[in-house]
């Protein structure tokens, strides 16, 4: 039988704004060419015409699901460049918001993963359970999707007093829901049959392909920026990094699932430990940047994300380089798809949690 070439995307329901040129032989994929770049919008170039604070609203656009995660390394890099010390309350708030956003992002991913496996309940439940967390973030920032909450030197505004009790209520609710997710999806025999042993990424391959985030941790490598290079107050909080050794789609999904539990623990500690005080170091007017360069790394929802800022002491940064986790995970997709079955394509593709907009920037 001869090979047939299939174009999955950008209008295919099985991919995002992204195209996979597949060559299938029977039911088996023999060749894959990923075709990214459909939603490239020149974020890095745009940064060169705006000052540090003006950059915030558009920098979170590529990953509106994970807006705190994508801004975190940026504000860390800015603070490094400007040499600012962030108040402690702001650090706790940032951590809490980052974890809330990690859960929002993981739930969105879980919903899409569910519907792409044909499990419509697993699409509706996470989408519905995002709501309490979105409400929580709205309580803090005033926005529902793009919070623009982190600014260089702290957070944009303080949270109302009801934030702590609200957060604890949401955490209690969601802990119960996670058990139900486990019952209906993660222990479902058909889910196990479809994901166990599918798309195995060994430890060696994961390192040589440069995978990050849950993809890396699903292959048995204990690598998380929050633990390895703790920023803000992460080193004062007690949490664990879930790591699974199998490296298949199941372990990648499970790592993300367990991460949500850990995020709940972090949010709980952060809101309880949070001291009173200012939440921002004032930065009045246009800040003239000092000449120099800075680099910062943080753990966004999809993995380690880093920013590199070069300044020539002008009003605007000279160059900003963004390294998003989706782009770093992109090489694993063709590697895993080659030799897989066509039916496993959505499992592998969405198991990697590739977000085309983030990768294209």
């Amino acid at each position: 039988m001869s090979t047939m070439s299939l174009s999955v995307g950008p209008q295919h329901p099985g991919s995002g704004h992204f195209r996979l040129q597949l060559k299938v032989k029977g039911d088996i994929i023999v060749d894959v060419v990923p075709d990214a770049g459909y939603v490239h919008r020149g974020e890095e170039k745009m940064c060169e015409y705006r000052n540090l604070v003006q950059n915030i609203p558009h920098l979170e656009r590529p990953v509106i699901l994970d807006s705190v995660g994508v801004l975190y390394p940026y504000v860390l890099a800015c603070e490094d460049l400007l040499d600012i010390e962030v108040p402690e309350r702001a650090q706790y708030l940032r951590v809490a918001m980052a974890e809330i956003n990690r859960i929002i992002s993981h739930l969105y991913w879980l919903g899409i993963y569910g519907i792409f496996l044909g499990h419509s309940t697993m699409f509706m439940w996470p989408m519905g359970d995002r709501e309490p967390f979105i409400d929580l973030a709205q309580l803090a920032s005033g926005a529902r999707v793009t919070f623009a909450y982190l600014v260089p030197g702290g957070v944009r505004n303080d949270v109302p007093d009801s934030f702590e009790s609200q957060a604890l209520k949401v955490i209690r609710y969601f802990e119960g829901r996670l058990r139900e997710y486990d019952n209906i999806f993660f222990s479902n025999p058909l889910f196990l049959g479809r994901t166990k042993g599918v798309g195995v990424l060994t430890k060696k391959d994961a390192i040589s392909l440069g995978a990050v985030g849950p993809t890396l941790r699903g292959s048995g490598i204990r690598s998380d920026v929050r633990k390895t290079e703790p920023y803000d107050v992460y080193d004062e909080l007690d949490f664990d990094i879930p790591v699974l050794d199998e490296g298949d789609s199941y372990s990648r999904a499970m790592v993300a699932f367990l991460e949500m539990k850990e995020s709940l623990k972090i949010i709980k500690q952060a809101v309880e430990k949070m001291p009173k005080g200012p939440v921002k170091v004032g930065m009045r007017g246009q800040v003239r940047l000092p000449a120099g360069e800075s680099y910062a790394r943080a753990e966004a929802a999809r993995g380690a994300m880093s920013y590199y800022i070069v300044s020539d002491a002008g009003k605007f940064p000279y160059r900003i380089k963004i390294s998003p986790p989706s782009f770093r995970n992109l090489p694993t997709i063709p590697f895993l798809l080659k030799g897989a079955r066509l039916a496993d394509m959505p499992v592998i593709y969405w198991g990697i949690n590739y977000w085309p907009v983030e990768a294209d920037r």
Binding site: G26, I28, G339, A340
Partner: protein, 173 residues
């Protein structure tokens, strides 16, 4: 004396049989063949053997026509372009077919048994009982041979058409 359902069915059967061979797209040929099978099943109902008619539909329409369609899709032959030699060949074939048909019709219409024959009709119980007692009685060896033949054909077809193998083998080349 020829009645109307028989006439309609026979005209349809002959037309679809010719279309099965002469249609430009081979897939139309396969679909026409399925309709021919269906018409034959219709004759069985006229002959009051509904059991056999359903058997014919299940196996010939549901299996034979489907695997022919399936093979056409796998193999994917395009439209046929006739050459001069083909035309000569087909004139020869038409002559042979007509001579054959004329001979058969003359022989059959001269056969005295056909004119004297009277139709019989059996209830389903008698029919099934009769077939069953023959299968278990005098025709047991035929039955077993047919079963063995089917098994052999199944194994043979699977061996012939076995595809490239497991994903790992395909990946390695």
């Amino acid at each position: 004396m020829i009645d109307i359902p028989f006439l309609i069915l026979s005209v349809l059967a002959i037309v679809t049989a010719i279309m099965a061979l002469e249609s430009k797209e081979i897939i139309y040929g396969a679909v026409s063949l399925a309709i021919t099978f269906l018409m034959i099943a219709g004759f069985f109902i006229i002959l009051q053997v509904p059991f056999l008619a359903m058997f014919q539909i299940i196996i010939n329409v549901g299996a034979v026509a489907v695997i022919i369609l399936f093979t056409v899709m796998l193999v994917g032959t395009g439209t046929v372009v006739a050459t001069a030699r083909d035309r000569k060949n087909s004139i020869f074939a038409i002559t042979v077919g007509i001579v054959f048909a004329a001979g058969l019709i003359i022989i059959l219409s001269q056969w005295p048994g056909a004119i004297r024959a009277v139709p019989i009709s059996l209830s389903i119980k008698e029919w099934v009982g009769g077939i069953a007692s023959m299968l278990i009685g005098p025709f047991t060896p035929v039955f077993l041979t047919a079963a063995l033949l089917l098994t052999a054909a199944l194994i043979g077809a699977l061996t012939l058409a076995k595809s490239e193998g497991t994903p790992e083998e395909v990946k390695d080349g």
